[in-house]
């Protein structure tokens, strides 16, 4: 009896272990975030004044806001898809068809994580700009007056930069997962006559799915919030929610409006992330080991 009670308590203690990190997060993150929400509801200055959703209706009324919303979702979805594919291919080669130096190269890709994002856009400009290296090479070789690459200031430029920037987020967890794939399962699959493609699809991929899913989820959310790249790429007609936040907060000094957009942005991220996880559970519900 007492023992059972004890066990109950032990179970509660184990469950209670979650409290320190959650409390820490609450203090250091949720509390500031709550203030953002509060500020978004008090247009007449931080904290004071009556709560009001006026700022929300104002913001929702703006056409630029609606455009930004659609842009944000479109770019994030595209970049996430691109990143997943690219990250998988690269991680796969490094893990399963390694060649001398491939591992170092994969490390090299990680460096992009430390890359201030505005530099990426600049670097891409030097490579793919209208008078950049790629076009320069093209005109030198073909004698044409201009090269074929002219996409940097379009949404594709943003997409390219984001894919480059975020691929490591997918590669890293994947490489870790690949390193733990059970050789016996690969062998069993091969002995059953499965070609490498099938093994990848049906054995490696499902096993790496949690990693891939986690990476993809993060990239999705990150893309929804990427601001440096969009800001510095300067694509015509590409405003996203984060750049809107930046504009409102910094240029207009409209902190309330910025908070509103931020809250919407967070809600959007959370919703899309939730949707993404749900889709994944739907399609991959069967995997995951017992807990």
């Amino acid at each position: 009896m007492t023992l059972r009670a004890r066990a109950g308590r032990t179970g509660m203690m184990r469950a209670g272990m979650i409290l320190p990190p959650v409390l820490l997060l609450a203090l250091l993150f949720l509390y500031p975030l709550a203030l953002v929400v509060r500020d978004s509801l008090s247009p007449d200055g931080a904290g004071g004044g009556a709560l009001s959703t006026r700022a929300y209706s104002d913001v929702f009324g703006e056409a630029s806001f609606r455009d930004a919303l659609l842009n944000t979702i479109g770019i994030a979805a595209g970049a996430t898809a691109g990143t997943l594919v690219l990250g998988f291919v690269l991680a796969f080669v490094v893990a399963f068809v390694p060649f001398p130096g491939s591992r170092a190269l994969s490390r090299f890709i990680d460096v992009f994580l430390a890359f201030p994002s505005f530099l990426i856009t600049l670097a891409l400009l030097f490579v793919y700009g209208t008078v950049g290296m790629a076009n320069g090479l093209w005109t030198d070789v073909t004698g044409a007056s201009s090269g074929p690459f002219d996409f940097l200031h379009t949404p594709w430029g943003v997409l390219l930069a984001e894919v480059t920037y975020f691929t490591p987020f997918v590669m890293r967890p994947l490489l870790a997962a690949f390193a733990q794939t059970e050789t016996a399962q690969l062998e069993a699959a091969a002995s059953l006559g499965a070609r490498p493609g099938r093994i990848v699809r049906q054995v490696v991929l499902p096993e790496a799915l949690p990693a891939l899913a986690a990476g993809g989820g993060l990239v999705l959310v990150l893309c929804l919030n990427e601001f440096g790249i969009v800001l510095f790429t300067g694509a015509k007609g590409v405003t996203t929610l984060p750049t809107l936040v930046y504009g409102k907060a910094i240029l207009d000094g409209d902190y309330t409006g910025a908070c509103v957009v931020a809250v919407v942005n967070v809600a959007l991220s959370a919703a899309l992330y939730g949707l993404y996880r749900m889709l994944l559970t739907r399609t991959g519900a069967h995997r995951a080991r017992p807990v």
Binding site: Q185, E187, S191, Q202, P206
Partner: protein, 380 residues
């Protein structure tokens, strides 16, 4: 030309004709040689059992056939074709590995269907063959489970079903029944034997620790020892006339005693006990005497007309004290220590109604024809 044709054949669902040949295969992990200049041929349609102590290289031999380890030297042939450089999925094999290696994210059904899909078996046919394989292994009714929801023996049966479902030309089995109870094992053995009859070209290479499995199923037995092939032959020949003490102890149980030749058909144990042996022209110097426990009788030998008599010709009678007694259900194993050397002989006799007590003085007897002399070494 030849190679291309073979490749085409291989691609269309694997090599259909059985037959395996190891040709001087050496496999090493870093510095450790785990398969050493290994030669063995399994004929098409043959069942070869692979016996040997733990760590002797049995699994490695199977892995070499499957293509999971690349031999350092030598060739592996399947159906007469050199497959040393062929990737596993082109080799047309079926394999059950020691640790099952089921796909954890697939249901039992999908696990079994995996090989069929991989070999592009028509969609309509797959369900039937999966059901058949599951039934054969008694796993119908578990099709919807995930491997983690199965017991050890159930997992092993799924692994077998998965390998059988593809109807390979070559079946590699690594202790496939180790997690099954005796009844199920007998049933599975029967199924394997039936399968083997129905698919005449099917070659099987079968690693087992269970000698009765080997004796029941195998056409021939190969005995491995420390990365090398020790002996290979039919069960009867290895059992009756093992080439070495090592083989004798691995094919059936055996009493192995250090001895010395002392005449045409006699050897002498340590301490001078003289034993008549199966006439073989004799030899010189050290030797190992091998007597199967069930060929040893307890008490004085029966005379020609029945009652015990110490004087039956060609019958050895030894005297000693009981040092061990084991009841095995159908039989008793009685271990007797022989003075003066203290060498021990174990007799396996039909269940005794009044077994001797430990320490009791008893006689044991065995026919000279049942005492086989082998080259020296291998005694425990």
């Amino acid at each position: 030309m030849n190679v291309r044709a073979a490749n085409v054949r291989a691609m269309n669902g694997g090599i259909r004709n059985g037959g395996i040949r190891f040709d001087g295969v050496t496999v090493a992990y870093d510095a450790t040689v785990v398969l050493d200049d290994f030669d063995l041929t399994v004929e098409p349609g043959e069942v070869m059992a692979l016996l040997g102590p733990s760590g002797s290289g049995k699994t490695t031999a199977l892995r070499a056939v499957a293509g999971f380890v690349r031999p350092r030297t030598g060739r592996v042939l399947i159906g007469g074709q050199d497959v040393t450089a062929l990737p596993p999925h082109r080799r047309g094999i079926g394999m059950v590995v020691q640790q099952y290696a089921l796909f954890p994210h697939m249901r039992v059904e999908a696990n079994v269907a995996f090989g069929l899909k991989a070999r592009k078996v028509p969609r309509g046919e797959i369900a039937g063959r999966v059901a058949e394989a599951l039934e054969m292994t008694g796993m119908d009714g578990f099709a919807e489970r995930y491997p983690r929801e199965l017991s050890g023996g159930q997992q092993q049966r799924v692994a077998i079903a998965r390998a059988l479902a593809v109807r390979p030309g070559v079946l590699l089995l690594d202790e496939p029944l180790s997690a099954l109870d005796a009844r199920l094992r007998a049933g599975m053995l029967t199924e394997l034997a039936r399968l083997h009859r129905e698919l005449p070209g099917l070659s099987m290479l079968y690693v087992t620790h269970d000698q009765s499995e080997a004796l029941t199923l195998a056409d021939r037995i190969a005995v491995m020892d420390r990365a090398r092939l020790r002996d290979c032959g039919t069960p009867q020949s290895l059992y009756r006339a093992p080439g070495s003490a090592f083989t004798a102890s691995f094919v059936g149980s055996a009493n192995l005693l250090a001895a010395r030749w002392c005449g045409e058909d006699a050897v002498e144990l340590d301490g001078g006990v003289r034993i008549r042996v199966r006439g073989s022209g004799g030899g010189e110097g050290e030797a190992t005497l091998c007597i199967r426990p069930h060929l040893i009788g307890l008490g004085e030998p029966p005379g020609p007309s029945g009652p015990p008599s110490p004087d039956v010709p060609d019958m050895n009678v030894l005297h000693g004290a009981v040092t061990g007694l084991q009841w095995r259900g159908a039989s008793h194993r009685v271990t007797v220590s022989l003075p003066p050397s203290g060498a021990e002989l174990t007799a396996e006799v039909r269940e005794l109604s009044s077994p001797p007590a430990l320490g009791e003085k008893v006689s044991v007897h065995f026919a000279a024809a049942d005492a086989v002399v082998l080259p020296p070494g291998g005694t425990p």
